[in-house]
């Protein structure tokens, strides 16, 4: 059977499972809809959190990114796992004891202020919308690549599925589908990794494999081989990287703290029965996440070595079939700058922008060696190869010559990753609207039934909006991911930490701090990423910190402003201080 048939079968089966779970776990009350009645088992919650957290970006893009960044890719590996230590030690148990539904709930109650609540709601909405648009795009991509369905219909199908279980089941439906999605995505990620690890190093465990010797009997370590290939082609050594140390540091902090401050992750720890369960479920979550995150750098090394060895300095005419397939999807391209018919690969980009295939009507135009031609201007360096980073995971099974069902499995896994994260985010959006805005601010007397109805309507509207952005992605989608983490780091994290660990922190300080951290971070990112992208180089950055890492400075701004302003104003009321006291003890 070909890849496409396999994909239809596997995707069909997984979707049927998700829908079945949705019907079985319909939500009947707001408590079920928001936090699954707080009755989720820690192990289940850990698995759901892992699926919630690992998005299309973790599954499809991260290994590819690392593969091109080498050592520098550690910012994602450490940044997106280290935050869980902060969650377990500093946030989850206390927020669980607090025992409400949302992050704005905590901010609003702890700082006895509707303004604080509103600021938190706005942050939660910006962060979640930014994130969800990327997920819908991921769904569309997988559909169009593997099933040759138009991106438009791909997104529509994805929306319909998410709509079904998020709107119907709320947190309860989402939790149990996420468990299924975790199983699908981790299986899909690990199977090709095991295969390729055995192929290249003879060791089944990829985590050990990429530190082993090559299976060709040469006795050379894989990583040494890759470093050598890199040096020969003029790249920096794979294991050394190119980012400055302070930028590595700041980006890692921003991602860790941002992770710990993301509302859709935090809210998962409101769903377990006890404080104790909240602690241990963060531990389980990180174990499930670590399985993928420790495998990704190994896949990066395997894929990078395979790619260089297959294409570098080889005649175009000897390329395997997958090369042409990916050329036609504009994710891979070769411009024969020196007209020798050989693929010369090296540092720098081969063309300006991403490939725009030259067509004559619908027919793809081809060059001297039958290569796909593009309209883009070639650059002046000697590199002739354009490789989209996303193909490293998608094409990996083909590049390594694995059976068709493995490639289809990757498609099903990518969908599981994108759908599970999208659902978690949509829930945050709908809760923010129905609970934090309508129930807590506009109409406090609303009945549980009516609130539930608003939650469903809000989820439905959010699905449609997310789908719209998935089909018509704003040009800045990639850039705004930095915003999501920066904002979470600069707004929520300090406010929650101070709220738990500093009893005297008052409303004035917290609000001023959140607003200052938020504006500072937003301004810096918008300046470099959207307003003046041409200035986005290390010489112009403050203290050598890239926009990706600025959330760390934003967090410090938040802390300093909170403490300074907080000193001027009176202490919080007695009952708030008592509440802070009470969340510190499980009983």
């Amino acid at each position: 059977m070909d890849v496409q048939t396999w994909t239809y079968i596997l995707v069909g089966i997984t979707f049927a499972i998700y829908i079945g779970i949705a019907i079985w776990s319909r939500a009947g009350s707001t408590s079920e809809f928001y936090v699954a009645e707080g009755a989720v088992k820690p192990l289940t919650n850990g698995m759901a959190t892992a699926a919630d957290w690992m998005s299309a970006a973790s599954f499809l893009s991260m290994a590819g990114l690392i593969s091109f960044m080498g050592y520098d890719g550690a910012v994602y590996l450490m940044g997106w796992t280290g935050g869980y230590v902060l969650l377990a030690l500093l946030l989850a148990p206390y927020l669980r004891k607090f025992g409400k539904f949302t992050v704005p709930d905590f901010i609003g109650d702890r700082y006895y202020s509707q303004i604080a609540r509103t600021v938190a709601v706005v942050c939660a909405l910006i962060v979640s919308f930014t994130y969800v648009a990327g997920q819908m795009r991921g769904v569309g991509l997988v559909f169009s690549k593997f099933l040759e369905v138009d991106i438009f219909w791909g997104v529509i199908i994805g929306m319909a599925i998410v709509f079904f279980y998020a709107v119907l089941g709320g947190m309860k439906g989402i939790t149990y589908t996420q468990v299924a999605q975790y199983c699908v995505l981790i299986f899909a990620f690990m199977v090709p990794a095991f295969f390729i690890s055995i192929q290249m190093t003879g060791n089944i465990l990829p985590q050990v494999g990429f530190g082993s010797t090559l299976s060709d009997g040469s006795g050379t370590f894989l990583l040494d081989k890759l470093d050598q290939l890199h040096t020969e082609l003029g790249f920096a050594e794979y294991t050394s990287g190119t980012k400055s140390m302070q930028d590595m540091f700041f980006i890692t902090v921003a991602l860790m703290v941002g992770t710990a401050g993301l509302p859709h992750v935090i809210v998962r720890f409101f769903t377990v029965p006890k404080v104790k369960d909240a602690r241990i479920s963060v531990g389980y979550a990180l174990v499930f996440i670590a399985i993928l995150y420790t495998t990704a750098p190994a896949i990066a090394v395997f894929a990078r070595t395979n790619l260089i060895e297959t294409v570098s300095e080889k005649p175009y005419e000897e390329m395997p079939a997958w090369f042409n397939t990916w050329e036609e999807t504009a994710l891979l391209n070769w411009v024969d700058k020196n007209h020798d018919g050989i693929i010369n690969y090296g540092p720098g980009s081969a063309i300006t922008g991403s490939p725009d295939i030259k067509r004559d009507g619908l027919e793809i135009m081809r060059g001297e060696y039958n290569e796909v031609l593009v309209n883009n201007e070639p650059t002046s360096n000697s590199n002739e190869l354009y490789v989209d980073r996303d193909i490293m995971v998608l094409a990996n099974p083909e590049i390594a010559g694995l059976p068709n069902w493995v490639a289809a499995l990757v498609a099903a896994g990518g969908l599981a990753a994108a759908l599970s994260t999208a659902a978690g985010l949509l829930l945050v959006i709908s809760t923010s609207v129905s609970h934090d805005l309508i129930k807590k601010q506009i109409n406090p007397d609303i009945s549980d039934k009516a609130e539930l109805r608003y939650a469903r309507i809000a989820a439905a509207v959010a699905v449609v909006v997310a789908g719209y952005f998935g089909i018509n992605p704003p040009g800045f989608v990639a850039q705004v991911v930095a915003i999501a983490f920066g904002l979470a780091a600069a707004s929520f994290f300090p406010a929650i930490i101070l709220g738990i660990f500093y009893k005297k922190m008052n409303r004035e300080g917290a609000v001023a701090g959140m607003v200052a951290g938020l504006l500072f971070t937003l301004a810096y990112i918008i300046f470099f990423k959207i307003a003046y992208p041409e200035l986005n180089t290390p010489e112009n950055w403050w203290f050598g910190i890239s926009p990706e890492g600025i959330g760390t400075l934003g967090m410090l701004v938040n802390l300093v402003v909170s403490l300074a302003i907080g000193m001027i104003y009176p202490d919080p009321p007695e009952e708030v201080q008592e509440m802070v006291e009470s969340i510190r003890y499980p009983k």
Partner: protein, 89 residues
Amino acid sequence: MYMSERDLKGYWRKNLRYLSILLTIWFIVSYGFGILLAPELNHIRMGGFKLGFWFAQQGSIYVFVILIFVYVYLMNKLDREFGVNEEDA
């Protein structure tokens, strides 16, 4: 049975001490070994891995997992010691 004011302070102080020790390890392994000291550690090899590279892309993640489970163990013990564990509720 509720704890006295003084006991509660003791519980919280001990919790803070665990936090500071565990977070210090968290910082040293990831930011220390993985980033700041990575160039020096890269002179040491562990099989095919340069040590700094290994901490940045593998080791720190394993340590994160261990830290959380150690914290869970310590806190469950502390909860029982001070009678704030939820089982008796």
